[in-house]
């Protein structure tokens, strides 16, 4: 019990290092260990806080203007990941389009500072699920983006509309006679 109490009290690295210099923003090791017990519990119950997006990007507006998913999410038909474009990509249009809007001003400010927009992940698997999802075979098989991501044309700021439980994936795999072997996704 003493250990448990001690463990629960552990908060974080001290703000200063021994020589008085400020603590670096990240620790000096990379590990799959959770940063806090609270994080470990959250992951176990799949409780993900609602992501706070730095800019109120709205899919509705962009898709409504005739853009396609793959205009920004490059690579989804070639490999595992869908790219989230960098601020430079957004600015190719937004250096002239809607430049007076406050959200666009935020965008320009990021670029002026040399910073990329810190988009927060909406869809994704917990590390402990050990899932290696690969977009490309799904796109090539003709699975529409909306099947897994919902109808983005109805969404303003992106939200998780579809729960990617294993059952969700398995159901579709069974229906479409796609591989059901565990190592298809877990390796």
């Amino acid at each position: 019990m003493v250990v448990l109490g001690w463990v629960l009290k552990e908060k974080g690295l001290p703000a200063q290092r021994a020589d008085g210099s400020p603590q670096a923003a990240s620790s000096d090791v990379f590990t799959p260990a959770h940063p806090t017990i609270a994080d470990a519990i959250r992951e176990f119950f799949d409780l993900r806080p609602k992501p706070v997006q730095p800019i109120a990007y709205t899919h509705k507006v962009h898709l409504g203007n005739g853009m396609q998913c793959t205009d920004c999410h490059v690579g989804v038909d070639q490999g595992p990941d869908a790219r989230i474009p960098s601020v430079n990509f957004c600015m190719t249009c937004h250096q002239v389009i809607a430049t007076d809007k406050p959200e666009i001003r935020k965008l320009a400010a990021y670029r002026a500072r040399g910073e990329d927009i810190p988009w927060q992940r909406v869809y994704g698997f917990e590390p402990s699920a050990h899932v290696k999802f690969n977009h490309a075979p799904h796109i090539r098989a003709g699975v529409d983006c909306s099947v897994c991501h919902g109808d983005m044309r109805q969404q303003t700021v992106a939200e998780r509309k579809v729960d990617h439980t294993m059952g969700f994936c398995i159901a579709c795999h069974q229906q479409k006679n796609a591989p059901l072997d565990c190592v298809t996704c877990h390796f």
Binding site: T31, A33, K132, C182
Partner: protein
């Protein structure tokens, strides 16, 4: 017929150099455990080079044998796992599903080849060593078993690529990291269900043996025993 992946290792070519050992670490995100943990037997060499000395000085011979998971068709590790984390895949591999594993370690206990390794602690990479990690392979956390799966990530990637390019997988197109690096070309990997594949031909050699085959594990790695020189007969 579904593919059955297998491997053949020619011990007449293997020189024990351990290129396979290091290539495997690099490809599969195997963490370094450090001196103290290595001292109590917890180093995780998914493939290792066994070496055996025979004889006394000056008549000494040494044999090398790379040992990795044999992906046994009658794997002793599969029936003992309470959560089916250790199971047989449709392509003949012994799969290790990390998210199912609850760390009972019965599988390592049952394995006669000592090729299963447990994560007693969360692995640590001192930054920025983690930048080397392969994004196509999971990072295992504490309490899970890990072992060789014939670089299943490369098998998957190869199959997906071949499907995208609309051609059949060619023999030798997919190579696990160990096979790819081996400087003497001592290792070969392929589809045992294809009688024309190189691995099938090697498996049919007169020198072919199985490691601990007498235990009934039906391993899928064939070892070609070291040959001897026949030249003295025709001097």
């Amino acid at each position: 017929m579904a593919r059955q992946w297998g491997m053949a290792i020619d011990l007449d070519r293997c020189t024990g150099c351990e290129a396979c050992v290091v290539a495997c670490h690099a490809e599969n995100n195997i963490s370094t455990v450090g001196e103290e943990q290595a001292a109590i037997g917890r180093a995780k060499h998914w493939i290792r080079v066994e070496r055996y000395y025979e004889g006394e000085f000056p008549d000494v011979t040494v044999k090398f044998m790379p040992v990795l998971c044999q992906q046994c068709d009658a794997a002793p590790c599969e029936p003992v796992c309470p959560t089916f984390a250790s199971y047989h895949t449709s392509e003949g591999l012994n799969g290790q599903v990390y998210n199912r594993c609850i760390g009972t370690r019965y599988c390592a206990n049952a394995c006669p080849y000592t090729v299963r390794f447990f994560n007693f602690y969360n692995p640590i990479w001192e930054k920025p060593l983690q930048l080397q990690l392969n994004p196509d392979v999971s990072i295992r956390s504490v309490g899970t078993m890990e072992k060789c799966m014939f670089c299943v990530q490369r098998i998957k990637a190869g199959e997906i690529q071949a499907a995208a390019e609309k051609h059949e997988l060619r023999d030798g197109e997919i190579q696990p990291a160990c096979v790819q690096s081996c400087p003497t070309r001592a290792m070969v990997f392929g589809d045992l269900s294809d009688p024309e594949s190189e691995v099938s031909r090697w498996a049919g050699s007169s020198r072919a043996t199985k490691l601990l085959g007498e235990l009934g594990t039906r391993p899928k790695v064939t070892y070609l025993q070291r040959d001897s020189w026949h030249g003295s007969e025709d001097a």
